[in-house]
């Protein structure tokens, strides 16, 4: 039941003291005439309402969440507690620098750590999420080319396995997207890349390891091809969790990069956000960074704007409390911890792949990085049970499904990313469930079409939702009473 349906006229909690100054109202021409319909509800019932919603959601706290490309690792509790300190959460963004030295030090420290992990020179904390970081990086590339009078560079090269945000960001930055195909090993087709580049190439956007969970062996050749034609290499940091302490995008020839603090650096997803997508770059691009950075001199921190900055990407300095959480995480992990995280992420993914690949077909039968993709095309042909059906079957067995139908170049794809924070028992459970489901697909395929049956609702009619969208509750009458 919706909170509005629980509303009763006259209920509610009073939170404020009586107004202690003379009451002033806007003059009639500035006052609203439309009735306000917000719910009137007792705090007891409101509390229960959200408890009920909480019960109808599945978080990392419940169990494994092997969504490929999403890095759903455990969200440490200390991070939440530190972000909740009043010394961070009660600070106004427009206080003077002298009164926010702690905040500036947080930004400065995280920047240093991210630079070291990725091999970049500077980072901005401003972008609100990964896609926002992509737009930021692309605008910096655009500004760089323009400054050098290179205005004909209008094309961004993106592999066909890329996240949808890459081409969408390129369009927002005013570029045209050129898609290059993958080769038979799942990497960039180098010959096709050579054909695609030219004097109109602004740059390349690449995830490495890519969305198939494979590290592109030809990475140095790829980034060199782009550099040789005058382009810039953008690194989509969505899969950074595979390589921390092992290899750095900066050493692979990448010039600008975003990282997802809400993936690699353990901050919670909150049901879709907030994330945080700091953007780092090599020195030659630093002058184009947006917003301000925190710089230290003689123990004092101050906010500094880059000389040819692209401007502001949003208000203030980014999702600061997410930055606090990520810094807390990195302090805990340290240099040995981040390496251990990546090593175990890769080990866990390979362990699961190894234990599944005799039944399910890997999209690429080789050692994977932190995630792997299975193609259920054969299973579907044999039994009629699709990737979607298996995913829904997993729900009934108590685990969150992996990413479905991505990357687009693999048919009936299921993409698993167990992350390093799952134990061997948890993975063994998942493996057993998936093996059982494979058996059931052959013996009782029909049962899959009604799955899931253990959830508050069964499969939902998405066609009707899109054809005749109902996007808000309509009160039964104007007054909002029931």
């Amino acid at each position: 039941m919706l909170v509005f349906e629980k509303s009763r006229e006259g209920r509610g909690t009073s939170f404020l003291p009586i107004c202690d100054v003379p009451e002033v109202l806007p003059s009639p021409q500035f006052q609203r005439k439309l009735p306000l319909q917000l719910p009137e509800i007792a705090e007891t019932d409101l509390n229960r309402h959200y408890s009920e919603l909480g019960e109808k959601a599945y978080g990392v706290n419940h169990g494994a969440y092997p969504l490929g490309s999403c890095t759903m690792k455990y969200n440490p509790k200390i991070n939440e507690e530190m972000a909740g300190l009043s010394g961070f959460s009660e600070i106004h963004p427009l206080q003077t620098e002298e009164t926010v030295q702690g905040c500036l030090e947080v930004m400065n420290l995280l920047e240093k750590y991210l630079c070291e992990i990725t091999g970049m020179t500077h980072f901005t904390m401003q972008p609100g999420a990964g896609a926002h970081g992509e737009l930021t990086g692309l605008l910096m590339m655009k500004a760089y080319h323009q400054k050098h009078g290179d205005t004909k560079r209008t094309k961004i090269i993106v592999p066909d396995s890329a996240h949808g945000t890459n081409p969408a960001s390129a369009t927002m930055a005013g570029f045209e997207t050129i898609t290059v195909p993958s080769n038979k090993d799942g990497g960039v087709d180098v010959e096709k890349l050579k054909e695609a580049v030219g004097s109109d190439t602004a740059g390349l956007m690449l995830t490495n390891p890519n969305t198939l969970g494979l590290f592109d062996k030809n990475i140095l050749e790829i980034t060199e091809i782009i550099h040789n034609c005058g382009g810039i290499n953008y690194y989509d940091g969505a899969n950074l969790n595979a390589i921390m302490g092992i290899a750095r995008p900066g050493d692979m020839g990448f010039d600008v990069i975003h990282v997802n603090l809400h993936k690699t650096f353990s901050t919670p997803h909150g049901g879709g956000g907030p994330g945080s997508g700091p953007v780092g770059c090599k020195k030659f691009l630093s002058e184009f960074l947006p917003s301000v950075r925190s710089e230290e001199k003689d123990g004092r921190f101050r906010l500094v704007k880059a000389a040819s900055s692209i401007g502001e990407m949003k208000s203030f300095y980014g999702n600061f409390l997410i930055v606090v959480r990520a810094l807390t995480y990195l302090m805990t992990m340290g240099k040995e911890g981040v390496l251990q995280a990546s090593e175990n992420a890769v080990l866990n993914a390979n362990y699961m792949l190894q234990k599944l690949k005799d039944l399910y077909t890997p999209a690429y039968n080789k050692t994977c990085m932190h995630e792997f993709v299975l193609s259920l095309e054969k299973l579907k042909k044999e039994t009629g049970v699709s990737a979607l059906d298996i995913a829904k079957g997993m729900i009934d067995k108590g685990i969150h499904p992996p990413t479905m139908y991505f990357p687009l170049i693999v048919h009936e794809a299921l993409m698993f990313e167990p992350t390093e924070t799952e134990s061997k028992e948890t993975m063994d459970d998942m493996i057993e469930i998936l093996r059982d489901l494979y058996e059931e697909a052959h013996t009782t395929p029909e049962q899959f079409h009604s799955a899931p049956i253990s959830t508050p609702v069964a499969r939902l009619n998405e066609v009707e939702a899109a054809r005749n969208p109902i996007l808000k509750y309509d009160w039964p009458n104007e007054k909002g009473d029931i």
Binding site: V463, A466, R467
Partner: protein, 128 residues
């Protein structure tokens, strides 16, 4: 699969009906069945000029969007606004649910007869 005899077809699965200098274009029955439940149609604006094999509209299913290409070039003179509210009409009867009308056809691309289109669709189905 329904294929009407008195229409022309394209390899992008559109049907075309000519009427003097003008033409009506829609999606074939095969196309609507391959696309699944269509939930929305983005149509061009009246007055738009479209070239042969140019994308002039797209149709949305729940989790996909597909461009629609035209085998003829010309000026869009009418759009089927009914489909904006009821895209399911394409699924119900693809040959009744026309998408756009062109007046003054300026060029024609590769057009198939009903028989040729039937053979073409069968060849794709064999491949799959």
């Amino acid at each position: 699969m329904k294929i009407l005899n008195d229409l022309f077809y394209s390899k992008f699965h559109e049907w075309i009906k000519f009427d003097g200098e003008s033409a009506v274009v829609g999606l074939t029955d095969y196309a609507q069945s391959a696309l699944g439940d269509i939930v929305f149609v983005n149509l061009p604006e009246i007055g738009d000029e479209v070239g042969v094999d140019g994308s002039f509209a797209d149709v949305e299913s729940v989790k996909a969007v597909s461009d629609i290409y035209t085998p003829v070039g010309g000026r869009v003179s009418a759009i089927n606004e009914e489909l904006l509210d009821a895209p399911e009409k394409i699924n119900q009867d693809a040959y009744d649910a026309w998408l756009v009308k062109f007046d003054k056809i300026t060029e024609k691309g590769e057009l198939l007869s009903a028989e040729e289109y039937k053979a073409f669709v069968e060849s794709i189905q064999e491949e799959a």
